[in-house]
Amino acid sequence: MANNKRNRWAEFIKDGGARTFFDTYPNDDELAEVINKLPDSVPVTAEQIRRDRQRFHNRPGRGEQIKEEEASPTKNVILNKATQLEVQEALVEILDNIFDNFERNTPDRLAVGIYVYPKTDAASGEILVVENSGGIEKKRIVPLIQLGFSERSARGIGAWGEGFKMAVFALGEEVEVFSTYPGQQPIAIHFPRGWLNPGHSLWTKWKVNTYEVGQNPPPEGTTIIRINHLHSEVLESLGLGKRQNGDTPDIVCRELARYFGEVYAEKYHDLAAEGYSEISIKITIGSVSEDVRFADRVKVRLIRNLSFIPWLRPIHWVAEWQTEVEEPGEEARFRTAKVCVEIYAGLAATFDDFQTYSPHPPGVEMWGNGRLFSLKGKITDKSVGWGYKFGGGGGTNPTSTASSRRLTIVALFTADDSRDIPWAAPVKNDYNRRSEFYAEIQELCAKVVRLYKNALPFLESRLLPFSHSWSRYTNQQKLDVLFAGSDATAEFKQEFATSRFGKKLLEFKPDFAFHEIAGADVESTVLRVYNISTTTVSDIVKAASETKTSAEQVIEFLEALFPNLAKQADLEEKFELAPEEELEL
């Protein structure tokens, strides 16, 4: 028997008839009952009605046209860039604008909701971004629409400029922005479908219309970005595609939440320090949701990851550069570009614990004004000092390879003018190797690599006692680490554990202080920074490796590595302390 049932509800949504139903029946259960009573209709649930009411009825709608703005002169630029953007990069670009707007308007709290709706019989797939960062002021509408025009704010990361347009068109074909700025008339901007399609008649049209908001204007300070007709590959990436072999929406949701929590970690903590800690981002894909949990600060995570060897401890290097740059757009044609960098670097203590800083691949991680921007992966080439040749007898740095993966370098840039951050433009997803400060950054990173290059092959088992992980291990785990790969028997390890030196080593607690360096001009030899010779460092690394197979030699090496503990143990013997006694000065 042929199935004559029709999806009446989808038809009502499509032809606009649903509006009357929504208005007549404010109760979702009641409305579902009414629809389900219609003859030959596919059943619809109250939950579906609730979602559709939220999605189609309660959202704003365009009203009368206000004016036509001259839009982007070169759509090709947007199109080319848009097609190269990953979904998560595009969403980050949109979030940048929201964070910037939030900092500009400073409302008490920021809540961002990203809702991804799958394609249905009634509608194409769409993304709705609802946020209360303060609303878009009328005077900022032009940069939102035009290409080559960006508004900047102090310490900003994005400002409704080129990056925003590329991001939204990387996701879908039609874009509507509804916004209510306090004290101003609610406004709607519409980039119609086909606006960025070379095969469409609108491709040659530059005008972008601004409208009044005809229905459901966003509350004051709220902006709603609607990206409609999502590209099929975007739906696939979000777990809503036709193919079943990709990640499911719940996995995508979780992964996006983790990604945003990482990318904006520093930004969040910076804002929280200024009293704006009520920041939430929620992602909903279909029927699954995930709240973003912001990662800890870079420094906090590095403390958990690095080895704090006193004579090669991690560094915190602060430098600042400024230079005059030609800027045709500026009245004076020149302006002073200025950037500050904080570099945190050190040797990762372990590869399989606390993977907050994954050592794969090795390279330099970069942040700009609190936002992670090395989104294409850590920077591993010569531009950040790998393979760098120092003048005179300064030597050469190694190239970045798997064996250099222990070296962890994070560069946090801040600049009042976001153009001075060395991020790619307009989409901030990579290092801009044409930055005004290219040479300075390269040299400073090279100096950091030089500091640690001789210690790169240091055994993990010898780095671990100086790490945060050490305090989390049981004594047995510590013994297994210390004698890994050696001929130590269980009895031998136990005997060591009860020796004076052994007990001290098992209870060892490193300090977690970074070595502070100020100014870019500091010479970065280990001798100058740590007062230890390069040869000594190489010898220690070599001796660690040479002694690893013999349990006796392991102890001999450890006593040389921790002379303080060995000497203390010796003196305690001399003081004739009982075996279970320990001196504390």
Binding site: E546, T547, E581, E584
Partner: protein
């Protein structure tokens, strides 16, 4: 098992009871304090370790670990063959003819 902590004062009392003079007690406590501050590795000890392990590595010939005694026999053998090895010279495959080495190892095993 957690160690029982002895304070400096308790230690002073004990050392005094053991008949140490005030000066001796001060010296010992200074030594302890100085040792506690030592964060740099013992470079002399590292050098000794390296020297020793390098000597040991001489005894490793193409994956065969030789005792010092066997190594001395090897030296004699080669000197007998007219091949002179300088004292402490690293023995490796480039220096030794593989076949001769195998013969030699058969000889001493």
């Amino acid at each position: 098992m957690k160690s029982r902590v002895i304070t400096e004062e308790q230690l002073r009392d004990r050392l005094a009871e053991a008949g140490k003079s005030n000066q001796e007690i001060e010296d010992l406590i200074d030594q302890y304090a100085e040792a506690s501050r030592q964060e740099y590795p013992d470079t002399e000890a590292i050098a000794v370790i390296l020297q020793k392990t390098q000597e040991d590595s001489i005894l490793r010939v193409r994956g065969f670990k030789l005792t010092k005694e066997q190594y001395d026999i090897l030296l004699d053998y080669y000197e007998g063959e007219g091949k002179v090895l300088a004292e402490g010279q690293q023995v490796d495959a480039n220096l030794l003819v593989q076949r001769a080495l195998e013969e030699f190892l058969n000889l001493i095993s």
